[in-house]
């Protein structure tokens, strides 16, 4: 019996992280099966104005290529996406991405809140949000939006986080379904994926 309540109705996974999350992210990306079904949309705080390098660094460790979507690119199953530097990444009506240069939110562009909130608006209960280590509260309101629309929320166990402000802010802002270590998040994703096979 699984300790998680899982089914195959989810349409996407959004993953946010900031300071101290890089290792966790690469562990996750190197451990999910290469035929993982759901699209994974990552919004990570990154060095400003460094356009290249990061996506390559993530791709090397990942079982699947990581790409930065273009504006209005169609979301596809099984792909791993990363919010590009200096743009906010939203999910647009019709299952497309949309980019924007709006003001920073929580001092960040891309802002995790924006990616999570627009994904929640679009996918409603069929969305899983995961928030990892980080030094500010970006992502907390996004997780709240996911919960309010019936989606599933997971944060990295603050005790495991290099910097726990981010998951703790989310825990304060809303109900979090699972508080997990990176190892367990990987277990969760692998089990989830079995529902799609």
């Amino acid at each position: 019996m699984s300790k998680y309540k899982l089914d195959n109705t989810y349409r996407a996974i959004v993953l946010g992280g900031s300071a101290g999350s890089f290792q966790g992210i690469t562990k996750i990306l190197s451990s999910i099966p290469d035929n993982f079904e759901l699209p994974v949309i990552m919004c990570l705080h990154r060095l400003k104005h460094v356009r290249n390098g990061f996506v390559e660094a993530l791709s090397i460790k990942s079982t699947k290529p990581v790409t930065e979507p273009y504006d209005k690119e169609k979301l596809k199953r099984g792909k791993v996406y990363l919010a590009p530097s200096n743009y906010h990444l939203s999910i647009e009506l019709g299952n497309n991405f949309a980019l924007s240069t709006e003001d920073m939110v929580n001092n960040s562009r891309p802002s995790i809140d924006i990616t999570l909130e627009t994904a929640a608006y679009n996918y409603k209960r069929r969305l899983i949000g995961i928030l990892l280590s980080g030094a500010n509260k970006d992502g907390a309101l996004g997780m709240k939006a996911i919960k309010e629309r019936g989606g599933l929320t997971i944060v990295q166990d603050p005790n495991e986080c290099m910097i726990k402000t981010m998951p703790e802010s989310a825990l304060e802002a809303t109900k979090i379904d699972y508080v997990l270590k990176i190892k367990e998040i990987i277990e969760f994703l692998i089990e989830l994926d079995k529902n799609y096979k």
Partner: protein
Amino acid sequence: MHNIEITDLKKLTQMVKDAYGYDFTNYAMSSFRRRVNRILELYNFTSVSNLIDKIKVQPAFVEEVVNEITVNVTEMFRDPSFWREVRDHIIPNILLNHKSINVWHAGCSSGEEVFSMAILLREMGISDKVKLIATDLDNSILNKAKKATIPIKNMELNEKNYIRFQGSASLSKYYKEQNGHAVLNPALVENVSFRKHDLVQGGIFNKFDLVLCRNVMIYFNQNLQNDVLKKLHESLFKYGYLIIGSKESLIWCEIANKFIVVNNEEKIYKKIRE
């Protein structure tokens, strides 16, 4: 976030279009919804219908709404490697066959992109050969652009970009600090023509050798992007260049086959068919 439904947004765009002629009906919903949410918060409206009522009774308010809905964030020398490409390849290439160049900055916002171009041209020593036209939908941001003054807090980033662009001087050579603003040397922009122009509803008003429309169409849905791209195409001379934002693409657009990719990384295209 207020709970804003798509139907609320449709009511708003329809009303603004019918009464004032601004057409946001085909803007990308994700950012448009956030912009409307921002207006509700800024002016303490409780709902979109509140906002609609206010625009109805106070016509002047619509200009403020337009200013808030458009996203005006911009930088000087944004994507420095792109500006190097313009300086080292694109402009020299155009000059091979032309004595003078017509450039259009479509969606120029507060002018930073135009200022960058003016500086680039001056450093190339060809300012007198190039005519710059800069347009935007938003009146208040155009007025700002005409003043050519930039909040000093933005200059750190602009300087960084300029250094990565590898300009031949120091950016500080081109402005004076005054009351917390960088006031650009007026000679830089005296020949720039700033005008109001709506990419959505406006017609073709000139032909250009080079059109920059960066980070403007990301606020449009795909249908509108297609329509506007047709206009940009028509506004270009054959073999003229079109430049879009670094995260935009022509791949999905209907007239992609009328362009060739000159530089995919910097999103530089060339018109090869009428």
